[in-house]
């Protein structure tokens, strides 16, 4: 099972800054292991965020995103109680969704 993301929300005046730290190896397919063999690509490919069920941002990633990815973006027109959900899906088909509530 995939590890949970850490989502931090900071709201001020209807804007909410979303800071997400994801737990993922993000193997680019460029790295060699101790035996000199290429470590196969294993990375998050799709990320999307929904607010109260509506997609507000979607993204496609490659192996150039760092291990344990950090993403930050800003939601507009938020109010307390709004539910933010973030989902990632990797090239192996694994997926993870975590949620946070705007305070």
């Amino acid at each position: 099972m995939s590890d949970p993301m850490r989502i931090r929300l900071q709201s001020a005046g209807g804007l909410t800054t979303v800071k997400v730290l994801m737990s993922h190896e993000m193997e680019s397919g460029q790295r060699k292991d101790e035996d000199g063999k290429i470590v196969p690509i294993w990375n998050i490919q799709d990320v999307f965020a929904t607010l109260n069920g509506r997609v507000v941002m979607s993204s496609e990633w490659g192996g150039g995103v760092s291990k344990n990815p950090f993403l930050q973006f800003v939601l507009k027109g938020t109010k307390p109680g709004d539910k933010l959900s973030i989902t990632w899906r990797d090239n192996k088909g694994d997926t993870r969704t975590d949620e946070a509530v705007v305070s």
Binding site: L51, M57, G62, G64, S66, Q72, K76
Partner: protein, 152 residues
């Protein structure tokens, strides 16, 4: 100072290549852009993305560290004063795969996006903004990647 038209066109062409695949993106909006993520050079990325020639713009601001202690994790951020941005395309020019990420924005988010990327070596970070009306603009900024020392 006279702007060198050749320079402008060269820069624009560089970025056009990076974006060439967007036509394909528009056709199959939900498909993972494998071709773009396979492109080994900026020129190849052009072909696989497909967009009009981007123009360098001061309306895009990039926040990057001047020196990265380690290329594995470099935090980059892009923002813009264009108010109708549809998509960001983040690239690290000298990476084996220059394309790092594509962000599709809606009206529910501001243009400001931050991401931690890998830099294989000292390289320019490029952020291309595709606007709703199809116009494309870019900005670039160098990040120096260092050899640290003894790992403390």
């Amino acid at each position: 100072m006279r702007t060198d038209r050749r320079e402008v066109l060269k820069k624009g062409a560089l970025v056009a290549g990076l974006l060439m695949q967007s036509l394909g993106y528009l056709r199959s909006a939900n498909a993972y852009q494998q071709n773009a993520f396979d492109a080994k050079s900026v020129l190849d990325l052009y072909k696989s993305l497909g967009l009009s020639v981007p123009v360098e713009s001061k309306q895009i601001t990039l926040t990057t560290p001047e020196i990265a202690e380690n290329g594995a994790v470099v935090q980059v951020a892009a923002n813009t004063t264009y108010n109708n941005i549809k998509r960001w395309i983040f690239m690290v020019e000298k990476n084996p795969v220059p394309l790092v990420a594509i962000f599709n924005l809606t009206e529910d988010v501001t243009p400001a996006v931050t991401l931690r990327c890998k830099f294989a070596q000292t390289s320019d970070f490029l952020a291309v903004a595709q606007l709703n009306d199809g116009k494309v603009f870019f900005a670039r900024k160098e990040v120096k990647v260092t050899l640290g020392g003894c790992g403390g």
